[in-house]
């Protein structure tokens, strides 16, 4: 019995590693597909954009020739790339030369985590509750009105909704600050002043993310619960004369399982959405740094961001799979 669980877990871990390897190979290959020397191209973009002084450009050029391993055979470049990665070395930023990419990411990543994780958990809980409620009242006016509304909310572009929320609640009504992570001049720390100020800035992006994600969860939960309510065991329980409330509770429990798997899939989508949303709110997390890296074509930084985000997505999916394996009794027997 436990052998099955172990086999399941081993498969998931192997899959996660394979997915990460696939991504690493893609990240490694893409800049090397540029005809000619990738470093020349990357640095020449820097010259066009910033018109930095020639000495700096020479230093940058030398540095990246070494980091990319230009001139070495491809397999050697790849093993170097992987070795650097394993040491946690993501290279040096071009646009913020000579700062290390890992340093820059360590500065921005925590703010995105603080925004994204609570928003996902809250929207998951609220959405599932709403979904069960609608499934229970399926076919009634409530269902007919709310379901299309939820479907619509699910399709609102994150970025635009953020703009609208910012316009209504910060620019027009002035309930919230018009952007930024915390007031200029405050230094992050666990003191009353900072926490209150941070939460004031945090509230609007957080609410935007929660509102927009709730729709998808509720729709998923609705159809899952309706499906479960139609299954034989519920019918049997109904014939036994169990109270409706109990039936709904049983259906809810079974319907929750697929929603756990969805959590992993949706994490990627919400991550992408929150990156865009951060830009609108000037919230200084991964979104802002991604945009900066893209607009300055800072390839090492772009690469570092992608590696970290891909690792996060894969890790979350792995954790979700493991939790699922432990929760779902079917995996123990098959």
């Amino acid at each position: 019995m436990y052998l099955n669980v172990l086999r399941y877990l081993a498969r998931r871990v192997v899959f996660a590693l394979a997915a990460f390897l696939f991504f690493i190979v893609a990240i490694f290959t893409l800049p090397r597909l540029i005809p000619g020397n990738p470093v020349d191209v990357l640095v020449s973009r820097l010259v066009m954009q910033a018109q930095a002084n020639p000495e700096l450009i020479h230093a940058v050029h030398r540095k990246f020739m070494e980091e990319f391993g230009v001139g070495l055979p491809l397999w050697k470049q790849f093993t170097r790339f992987v070795a650097q990665l394993l040491r946690g070395d993501l290279g040096t930023s071009i646009s913020m030369y000579p700062r290390k990419v890992s340093e820059i990411l360590a500065l921005f990543l925590p703010w995105t985590v603080a925004l994204l994780i609570p928003a996902i958990l809250v929207s998951w809980a609220v959405g599932n509750f709403l979904g069960v409620l609608i499934a229970w009242r399926r076919g009634t006016v409530l269902d007919r009105v709310i379901t299309p509304i939820l479907l619509t909310i699910n399709r609102i572009p994150f970025y635009w909704f953020a703009m609208v929320m910012l316009f209504i609640f910060a620019v027009y009504l002035r309930f919230f600050p018009i952007g930024d992570t915390y007031r200029w001049g405050l230094s992050p720390g666990l003191n009353w002043n900072f926490v209150v100020n941070y939460l004031h800035h945090y509230a609007l992006p957080f609410l935007t993310l929660v509102v927009i994600s709730t729709g998808g969860w509720a729709i998923g939960m609705r159809s899952m619960t309706i499906y479960e309510l139609g299954s034989d065991y519920i019918l049997f329980a109904d014939l036994l004369g169990l109270p409706q409330r109990r039936l709904l509770a049983y259906a809810f429990r079974s319907a929750c399982l697929p929603q756990v798997t969805e959590l992993g899939l949706n994490f990627g989508l919400m991550l992408g959405g929150s990156l865009l949303l951060e830009l609108v709110f000037n919230y200084r997390g991964m979104g802002s740094i991604t945009f900066q890296a893209l607009s300055t074509l800072d390839y090492p930084l772009i690469q570092g961001i992608f590696i970290v985000l891909a690792a996060a997505v894969i890790a979350v999916n792995l954790v979700v799979d493991i939790v699922y394996g432990l929760v779902d009794p079917r995996i123990k027997v098959t």
Binding site: T152, L294, L309
Partner: protein, 274 residues
Amino acid sequence: MKKLRNTRLIISTGFFLSVVALGVVGPWVYPVDPFSPSGKRTQPPSWEHPLGTDAHGRDVLAQLMHGIRTSLWIGVIAASIATPIGVLVGGISGYKRGVLDELLMASTNIVLAFPPILLLLLVTVFVPVRTRMVVALLIGLTSWPLLARAVRSQVMSLKERQFTFLARMAGLGDIKIVLVELLPNMMSYVFSSFVWLMSGAMLAEAGLSMIGMGVTADVSLGTMLFWAQMIDAVRRGLFWWFIPPGGILTIMSASLLLLATALDELFNPKLRGR
């Protein structure tokens, strides 16, 4: 119950077609150049400019009509690319099973695990000039996995039905069974998938354009939002500029999704609930 389905179908089709009409017929009725200034800068809506002007004095309504065309075009092309790939991968996977299935599904899950916007950005970074076709191609090539998974499970269940056994007993080859026996049974599903893929592709295009990584040298609904964001239109209160593109995008995408679910329920009685 029957009435409800029809109203949802009619309402969603109605919304979608009116937006399409705005994009297709609009530019004839309202022939203003969306690319060059036609008035003063950042003018609020007036008789002359029904949706005002942007920070360069270009007409917002004209841009909107043009943007609808771009979004629709990309949506249709991307969905036309993603649908066959999804059906093919899912079909082979579900019909053949075995090692091939494991491999195909593993690669499907890998693509599925990444945020689509990251996959798209990763590639667009290296394509400095992006035409509509390039963007549509990129979106199409990254949006098939969900469909592949769904088609796979459909094929797996259809394969066990009696008519497939009969076809096999009659001596039909694999390819013929898939094309003649299985595919027609899934056509309705494939069609509604095309509709939701289109809805997703238009959102993906907007997401790319919103950070300046979409179609270069063209106007789409996403590019309008990108420009508005660059000029800080929200904090300057230029609501006529940034509200319409996102609103239209939501209406188009949501009406397509509603249409897809209504079609699903129409074709598949099991989904209707009780």
